[in-house]
Each structure stands twice: as structure tokens, then as C-alpha cells.
Amino acid sequence: MTEIKIREITYLEAVREAMSQEMRQNEDVFILGEDIGVYGGAFGVTRGMIEEFGPERVRNTPISEAAIAGGAVGAALTGMRPILELQFSDFITIAMDQLVNQAAKTRYMFGGKGKVPMVVRTPAGSGTGAAAQHSQSLEAWMAHIPGLKVVQPSNAYDAKGLLKAAMDDDNPVIFYEHKLLYRTQCNVPEEQYSIPLGKADIKREGKDVTIVATAIMVHKTLEAATELEKEGIDVEIIDPRTIVPLDEEAIIESVKKTGRLIVVHEAVKRGGFGGEIASMIAESEAFDYLDSPIKRLGGLAVPIPYNPTLEKAVVPQVPDIIEAVKETVRFK
């Protein structure tokens, strides 16, 4: 029995540690992306990695999203296990053909021959004042594509374990890192561990209402829950952690218990993944246990504005969550 060493590290460090540990023991794993070399990546995730692994395995690329995404697919198809850092998740749009028409479909189209074990890591979300073209949350696009797995870790512990699972997975995995979470800290074991994709986490147990929240919204929901507790409202928070595969059972069980469901995500509500979760519940046996209409909280249907006040107003905030909960449990 070796003693488990646990330290408090940031989300950013947890992601870096997961990659570094894997690269130390698996030669096939390498990382490529724009400015991930000496610059350390736009958010500093790969800082120090080029010094340890060299420019062959930490490949600084030109600004060519289509080429580097397609390059990752080709490398994965031929025995490598690439990690692609896409500088902002908004730029996934430029790599769309390679991810959607190539990575997601190759194995199936080839009748099960070949595989595409790659991870696309990409910072997402608003809150940094980067405005319309650098602040989007497009995970629902990816979730819509059969053949892609979609991960949205909400804390450092989950980030490290989920990234390990993503790197071990033989399928393309889109790994969303919320920009505002990079500096958040929590206890993370030093050794490698894996959190299976498709396993939700109950971030808070409660009996009055189920809130399914993703990424940054997990934190906002936890904050709201603390406030609501003072008023005797007991919130259960489910963090799906991966939206593809989705742990439907955990959500269904929770809703059966509480009879109420709110889904919170930063992505635009219209066509957002909240609709999928709501529909899944409506179709499940949990329907018979619903005692309030399902609520979805999501971004307004506008591009992310630059002005800080407007930027906050465009996505759900703690008071919005509190209000939604009160509305939903009014008939307790």
C-alpha cells in the first residue's frame, strides 16, 4: 500500500498533470496546438511541457485549425494518441469538417476497421470579456454528432480523472475546459486515476429539487444551494460530467426522488443540451414523479456581448438559479 498523496491544485494544473503523466508512460501520446510551446498555450495549460517533452511531442503548430485537427485524426488512425489543443472552442468551427465528417465517422464508415483515439482539449465559455467570437459554449453541436464523446469537467479532481479516461478511450473525445475554472482549486491525488466517461457525480445531495448543471454552472448552482438552504430548500446537484455518454440513470433516479428538475448550462438555451436532458426525463419513468414543470436555464439567444454587465446578464447567474428554484418548489 503506497500512501496516496493529495494536494490542492488548480484545474489548469490538473489538466497539465494528467497529460504529463500520460506522456511519461505512453510514447504514443503527444500534444499539438497553437502556441502550446514556450508560450504555454493561450491559458498556460501546457506551460513547462515543451521543456520536459521537447518540440517533437509538444508540437507548436501554425494557425491552421483544419490542418491540425485533420492531422490529429490521421495520426490517431495510424497508431498515435494525439491530444489537440484548440486555442478557443470557438475555433472548433474552423476544424468542423475534420472533427464531424472525419474523426466522428471514420471507424464506422470503415466497418469497424481502424480507430481514432484522440482528445480535443478546448477552452470554452464566457466571463473573460473576450466577446462574441471567443466566448461561446458549443458543446451541444458536438453532442449531436454520433461518434464523438463530449466531456465538461467542473473541477480539478474531475478534470484530471476524466482526461485520463479520455486519453485511454479509443474514440475521439471533445474535452471542454471552462476558462473561468482554470484557476479554481481542489484536492487532487498525485497519482493517475481515471473517472469513467458516462458517470455523473452528485455534487450535493438534496430532496426538494434536482438541478443538472454543467461546467461553471455547477459552481453557481452550489452557491445558489447554499443560499436556498437558509430558506429550508434542499437542492440536489447532479453534474453529468460527460454529456456524451450521459448518465441518464443518475438523473432519472434523482428526479424520481425530488419530483422536480432544473437544467442549467451556460450555452444558449435554444437548442442547448438542457433540452435533451429535459426530453429524456419526459420520456423516462421519472415523468410520473414530476410535480413541477421542468425548467431550463441557459444563455440568451444573442452573441456574447463585450460589456461586463451585459456579459453577465446573458448567461445564468446565481440569482437566476435561486429564482428558478423558488418558482419550481413553490408547490412543495
Binding site: G259, F287, D288, Y289, L290, R330, F331
Partner: protein, 448 residues
């Protein structure tokens, strides 16, 4: 849009109708006004005509199915139109007054317990959360009975809980039914109510009592599930017998003068109407006359209220194959014997042919049951609710009677008057029968 075919409500008391026969198959073309199906209501068969042109798309019910009024029983529409696989229930096209009439009847049975009634707009489904629906189903309560605390009266689990947790006896059984049940040691938990919102009403208790007391004969070889008219009769008879305390008075009448009167009037009436005057019409006329002098006997007892009827409408029990019908002669005391003869023959014929109109079955204030064609002298007829009394007429038989110290042979007939002791007592009933005897023994008064 396919059009609903629904069970028509043909009288204010009609709650269900029995489907007897469809005249059309699914897929047949139907023209507006064409007879579409036949139903049996309280005591009548009636053909229902189509209200729409089109194809008969769907029939949800078949022969002997009992269907609540306004319930959708089928659809007429254009070929290939989609209709539900099962009847959607209450017709969306029902009107409010029917709905209210239905509710009033049962609401009147309610005690003073304040019930937060929800205003359910006819045809609008109650709003409730899925969980509330599930709970209501489990507890066998109707959502329409529950006042929802949510927006637009939406019912939540909390509301169902509160409703269920109220005194069960109060919320699911009328006070009267509860009283009878206690008195008769009936276990109400085993009874499913037939009243509004599944409430147990007195007739459910009566039925339960009857069920307890009837044991099917051990060697019974043939069994038949009763349906249609038989079911209606059985329900109504037991309801009357078990709710109204019956007392039967009998009295022998010397019909010598009635016979003479009839002989003299026969050709006159026949000339006028082409029909033969029978004793029945004479008795009807006499009863009508006497009833107008005894309003208490011409009363209806509805919801603990005695209603003294101005009009005298006399029901006439008519035997029909596998049953009994009571067509009604209206305003008897305003009609002469010729008219009565015509009408009585007419409704008798219609009854036997099962062609009575709903209106010919409604509104009787008193009933006459004549078993004179059999070897029956006296019997104890069951009151046709909500009337106060019924007159049983036995056979006419020549008997030795003592008149002024002399033994004479006279045509005698026994009248049996069953009355509802809740409404009147023995003395007035006896006075009524005595007066009737007097009128029949001096029948020329009828011609005045």
C-alpha cells in the same frame, strides 16, 4: 377534423346509455340524419341519427356496452383521418348545462362539508403535474375534485395529499350512503362509487347489500350477465326498494258500474278513435281525478325535497320482451276517455315495439301497474322513483259479496297501493285509496 359521435343525453336523469346496435360498420358512408346506432336509456330504446356526413371511422363500443352520456363512442370523418385508438372519453362538444345537471344531482347529495370546488370548464381537462396524476390514480381520487394550488389551478402532489388526508368517509361517500352502510354493516372500502368523482352514493350501498344477500343457486346451469334494459330495471328497482320504505294497502272494489260504463262507452269511443276502450283507461281516468284531489300522493321525492306536482302524468307499466317499460300519459285529468284510449293504445304499442320517444318516458307523477290479465289478485308493486306511490291493479273476478245483508255475485277487483312512507303516512294514503274506490264504484263522476 373527424367529428365525435357521442352518447346523447336524452333526459335530465340519464347518466348512462346502453349501446344496442350499430347500423353502420366502420368504413361505411354515413349521411347526416341517417340512423347510426340504437341505444337504450332509462327505459327506452332509441335510434340516434348522424349529425355529420362522412365515413364511420371508428366505433369504440359495442352491443350491451354501457356508456356515460357525452362520452365519445365513435368518429365520423374523411377517409384516412387519424382518430384515437381508444375513446378520448368526455366529448369536447358537450355543453355546459348537461355537465351542471350531472353535477348538481350529486352535489345535492353532499352534506354541508365545505368542499373547495374547482371550476372545471366543461371539456377542459384538469391541470395537474404528472406526479399528482399518478398519486390521484393510486388513491382513486378524481383530479377534478381537487383544488390545485398551482398556476391556473394546477394540482400538485401537495394538493392530492391534502385531499386524500381529509376524512376519508367524508371525501368519498355521501353522508346518507355512509349512514346506510353503518346501519347495514357494509364495508365501504370494498365498494367503488358510481357517483361524481367516484363518490359512493346510496345506491352503491344498496347494490352491495343486495349482493350480500343474494347467493347464486348452487346448481345454476345457465348464467347471464345482465345488461341493457335488465340492468336498468335491476338498478332502479333495487334503488327504489332499498331507499323508500314501502307500505302497501289493498282494497277490493266492486266494478259493476265500471263494467256498465264501459259497455255504454265502447261504441262511442270506437267510433271516435277506432279503438276499444279498456278497463285500464277507466282506471287511469279515475286515478287522475283522485290524484288531483290528493296532491301529497301526486308528489315527487327528490333530494330530500317533496315536490308537489301540478300536472298529473300517469305512468303505465307495460311488459315488453325481457323487461318492463313505463310510458307516460300526460295531463290525464284534462283528457277524456277517448283521448286516453287512443294514447294508451299508442304508447302500449310503441313500448312493445321499442319505439318510444324519450319524452314518452318522462315526467310521470304516479304509476299504474296492471296485472289483471294474470291470475293475480293483490301484490306489492315497487314505487317508480321519484314518485310517491304506485297502484297495482289485480284481476277482475266474480266473487260472492255481501251487499245489504244479501249475498250477491259481483265483479270484484283488488287495488294495491304502495306508498313511500318517507313522503306520506298511512292515513292519507288510505284516504286516497278509499276515495279511488268510491270514484270507481260511482264512475259516472268521471264523465263530468
Amino acid at each position: 377534423m373527424a367529428k365525435e359521435i357521442f352518447m346523447p343525453k336524452l333526459s335530465s336523469t340519464m347518466e348512462t346509455g346502453t349501446l344496442l346496435e350499430w347500423f353502420k360498420e366502420e368504413g361505411d358512408t354515413v349521411e347526416i340524419g341517417e340512423p347510426l346506432f340504437e341505444i337504450l336509456t332509462d327505459k327506452i330504446n332509441i335510434e340516434v341519427e348522424a349529425y355529420d356526413d362522412g365515413i364511420l371511422l371508428k366505433r369504440y363500443f359495442d352491443t350491451d356496452d354501457q356508456v356515460p352520456v357525452n362520452h365519445v363512442i365513435g368518429y365520423i370523418g374523411q377517409a384516412n383521418e387519424q382518430v384515437p385508438a381508444e375513446s378520448p372519453g368526455e366529448s369536447g362538444e358537450s355543453n355546459e348545462s348537461n355537465e351542471q345537471a350531472l353535477q348538481e344531482e350529486t352535489v345535492a347529495e353532499e352534506a354541508e362539508r365545505p368542499l373547495v370546488a374547482v371550476s372545471v370548464i366543461s371539456g377542459e381537462k384538469p391541470r395537474a403535474t404528472p406526479a399528482a396524476r399518478r398519486m390521484a390514480k393510486t388513491n382513486q381520487v378524481e383530479l377534478t375534485a381537487i383544488a390545485g394550488s398551482g398556476p391556473n389551478g394546477r394540482v400538485h402532489v401537495k394538493d392530492v395529499n391534502e385531499y386524500v388526508n381529509e376524512d376519508q368517509a367524508h371525501s368519498k361517500i355521501t353522508p346518507l350512503a355512509n349512514k346506510i352502510a353503518k346501519h347495514e354493516n357494509v364495508d365501504i372500502t370494498t365498494i367503488s362509487g358510481s357517483g361524481l368523482n367516484g363518490k359512493i352514493v346510496k345506491q352503491d350501498i344498496s347494490a352491495a347489500i343486495q349482493e350480500k344477500s343474494t347467493k347464486a343457486p348452487a346448481s345454476s346451469q345457465k348464467r347471464r350477465k345482465i345488461g341493457g334494459m335488465r340492468k336498468v330495471i335491476s338498478d332502479r328497482m333495487s334503488q327504489s326498494a332499498f331507499t323508500a320504505p314501502h307500505v302497501t294497502l289493498t282494497s277490493e272494489i266492486d266494478t259493476t258500474k265500471v263494467k256498465e260504463l264501459r259497455v255504454q262507452l265502447l261504441p262511442i269511443v270506437e267510433k271516435q278513435t277506432g279503438m276499444r276502450l279498456s278497463y285500464t283507461e277507466v282506471i287511469i281516468k279515475a286515478v287522475g281525478l283522485v290524484l288531483s284531489r290528493f296532491p301529497a300522493v301526486n308528489a315527487s321525492f327528490i333530494n330530500d325535497e317533496i315536490i308537489y306536482n301540478d300536472a298529473v302524468h300517469i305512468g303505465l307499466a307495460v311488459a315488453v320482451p325481457d323487461g318492463l317499460m313505463v310510458p307516460v300519459l300526460k295531463d290525464v285529468n284534462q283528457k277524456g276517455l277517448a283521448d286516453l284510449t287512443m294514447e294508451a293504445k299508442e304508447i302500449g304499442k310503441r313500448a312493445r315495439e321499442q319505439k318510444l320517444l324519450p319524452d314518452q318516458l318522462k315526467g310521470s307523477t304516479f304509476t299504474i301497474s296492471n296485472l289483471g290479465m294474470y291470475a293475480i289478485d293483490a301484490f306489492t308493486p315497487i314505487i317508480n322513483q321519484p314518485e310517491t306511490a304506485i297502484l297495482g291493479v289485480g284481476r277482475m273476478l266474480e266473487k260472492p259479496v255481501v251487499i245489504k245483508g244479501e249475498i250477491e255475485v259481483r265483479p270484484m277487483m283488488t287495488l294495491s297501493l304502495s306508498f313511500d312512507h318517507r313522503v306520506i303516512d298511512g292515513a292519507p294514503a288510505a284516504e286516497f285509496l278509499t276515495e279511488l274506490k268510491r270514484v270507481l264504484e260511482n264512475p259516472f263522476e268521471l264523465l263530468v
